[in-house]
């Protein structure tokens, strides 16, 4: 998985997760607190700049990763901008029922704000996700007091994604090598059996994992020892200053 690979091999890999978490968290707050698109756009620029220039995530890969949420966003925002029953600028009149379809100034403003905020939030989260391995994010969340059950689920689910992907890949190759995807009909059939078998294998795996954990003394709680390193005061202050400035701007501008 692409994001995971970068999380383990970027220039900020060894920066303390609290620093990256604080920066991303304050960026998120600034994006959500802003009343105009201006500050969210600034947050987007800062977060993307830090990810690309600071952590040195390749720009092409970064843009490709942004495309996925961008698709969802644009579809959602379009429905905000366009209003049924007139608006300030008439676009078309639907032949059915003579319904006018138009753009309203208010709708456009709202769409612009939502779009800017969403992008700022995404880039802030990407800053953390692309530079910090999940195990460290979990450690950070634990220190912030997230319930243990949620942390256990995150750790197990994350690990299982990779075993599941591997099994799925192996099964697909086995099906392909026996012409499982040669025609549309056989593709559909192969995909169905893949899904069904994947479920069975996952169930089997989870039983085995449970035995393996029990054998090592698992009782009620999944516990593990995290890497402990001292908080770098200087970096933390810098992150707080940058993020804090964005939050202050968000609260001031346009109110």
């Amino acid at each position: 998985m692409l994001p995971d690979r970068y999380a383990y091999s970027n220039r900020w890999r060894l920066v303390h997760p609290a620093v990256k978490g604080l920066l991303a968290g304050l960026g998120l707050v600034a994006a959500l607190a802003a009343a105009t698109p201006l500050v969210p756009l600034l947050v987007t620029a800062v977060m993307a700049g830090l990810t690309l220039l600071g952590a040195r995530i390749p720009a092409a890969a970064y843009l490709r990763l942004l495309l996925v949420p961008a698709g969802f966003l644009l579809a959602g925002v379009a429905s905000l901008a366009v209003s049924l029953g007139g608006g300030d600028v008439l676009l078309v009149t639907l032949p059915v029922l003579d319904l006018p379809l138009g753009l309203s100034h208010a709708g456009l403003r709202q769409a612009g704000l939502v779009l800017a905020r969403a992008f700022a939030a995404i880039t802030a989260l990407y800053l953390l996700a692309l530079t910090t391995p999940l195990t460290e994010v979990v450690g950070l969340l634990r220190r912030l007091g997230l319930p243990c059950l949620l942390l256990e689920l995150m750790v197990l689910a994350y690990r299982q994604i990779f075993t599941l992907l591997q099994i799925a890949r192996e099964m697909t190759v086995a099906q392909q090598s026996r012409l499982g995807y040669a025609s549309a009909v056989s593709s559909l059939r192969s995909l169905a059996t893949l899904g069904a078998n994947l479920y069975l294998r996952t169930h089997q795996r989870s039983c085995q994992l449970c035995l393996g954990l029990l054998a090592r003394g698992y009782e009620d709680e999944l516990c593990w020892l995290e890497r402990e390193c001292p908080l770098p005061a200087g970096q933390l202050a810098l992150a707080a200053a940058t993020g804090g400035a964005l939050v202050v701007l968000a609260l001031l501008v346009g109110r």
């Binding site: 995971d4 383990y8 391995p133 999940l134 195990t135 750790v155 197990l156 994350y158 690990r159 990779f162 075993t163 591997q166 795996r205 085995q208 994992l209 035995l211 393996g212 954990l213 029990l214 054998a215 090592r216 003394g217 698992y218 009782e219 999944l222 516990c223 593990w224 020892l225 995290e226 890497r227």
Partner: protein
């Protein structure tokens, strides 16, 4: 001294009715290296889940250090601390994406202090030779490295009995070659080591004692020196005879080597052959 772990008159039936073990009587002596030979489905893995208290026998009992296992919480924790099992498939044991965190799981369950856990994790990593890869995510490790990570996870609990299910399965020859000295290291401190395998050559080269399991019942238990009875039990299993045994037999019939007891490794066989040639040239 009583055997360290023991199955007495054990039957085990799975929920679907498959009878995996039948009237099994098998005792493992303290501090020995035992190879458990058997074909797939002979009941080796089932036996291991019983010895570690993961399953209870349908009939009969499992004993640890002479005492029947009590299946309450505290007794089970104690049993699992003292009997460690390394399962065959690493992906079904490693729960965390960080191998350091994964290895810390067992010792933390024992209620040890953080410093002690940290010390054990680092020591286990060093023993299996993964210290340099400890920062890599689990899914970026090779199959052999994952197997070693599983072993480290069990080693960090410092068990008295170490049980391996098919440790060489899926390893390439160089990695299998590294396994022998590693197993010897683990045994060096007087630890009891039990290995399930269907590799007869590995079994005679490494073990003090061999047990043969066939369809859930014990068909041989004894030292490698009892080679005739061992060969009979192996022939019944169709696992084949150890290569060194077969070669030794053939050479002996032609008068090329002497002695009753077959060698256990290729190196031993070659040495015996050389010895004989020297003897002849002197005569």
């Amino acid at each position: 001294m009583p055997p360290i772990v023991e199955a007495r008159n054990v039957d085990f039936c799975y929920a679907d009715g498959t009878q995996a073990l039948r009237s099994l009587n098998l005792a493992f002596a303290r501090g020995r290296r035992t190879a458990l030979l058997g074909r797939n489905g002979a009941g080796k893995s089932t036996l291991f889940t019983l010895l570690n208290g993961l399953a209870r026998p349908s009939r009969g009992e499992v004993r640890f250090a002479g005492e029947p296992v009590a299946y309450d919480r505290r007794a089970l924790r104690e049993l699992r601390r003292r009997v460690g099992v390394v399962f065959q498939h690493p992906d079904s044991q490693l729960f965390s994406a960080s191998i350091r965190e994964d290895i810390s799981f067992g010792p933390l369950n024992l209620g040890l202090s953080k410093d002690e856990v940290r010390r054990r994790v680092e020591q286990a990593l060093a023993t299996v030779g993964l210290a340099e890869l400890a920062e890599r995510p689990t899914h970026a490790l090779s199959y052999g490295e994952k197997k070693r990570a599983c072993l480290a996870g069990v080693l960090a609990m410092e068990p008295e009995v170490l049980i391996f299910d098919e440790p060489a399965a899926g390893l390439d020859p160089p990695m299998t070659a590294q396994l022998l000295p590693l197993l010897d290291d683990l045994h060096a401190g007087g630890r009891t080591v039990i290995v399930a395998t269907h590799d007869v050559d590995f079994a005679v080269a490494w073990a003090d004692e061999i047990c043969v399991l066939h369809a859930g019942a014990l068909t041989f238990q004894g030292e490698v020196a009892k080679h005739e009875a061992l060969c009979r039990a192996l022939a019944e299993l169709e696992l084949g005879l150890p290569v060194v045994f077969e070669l030794f037999g053939a050479l002996r019939r032609r008068g090329l080597v002497r002695g009753e007891e077959p060698p256990r490794t290729r190196a031993e066989l070659l040495a015996r052959l050389d010895e004989n040639i020297v003897d002849r040239s002197c005569a």
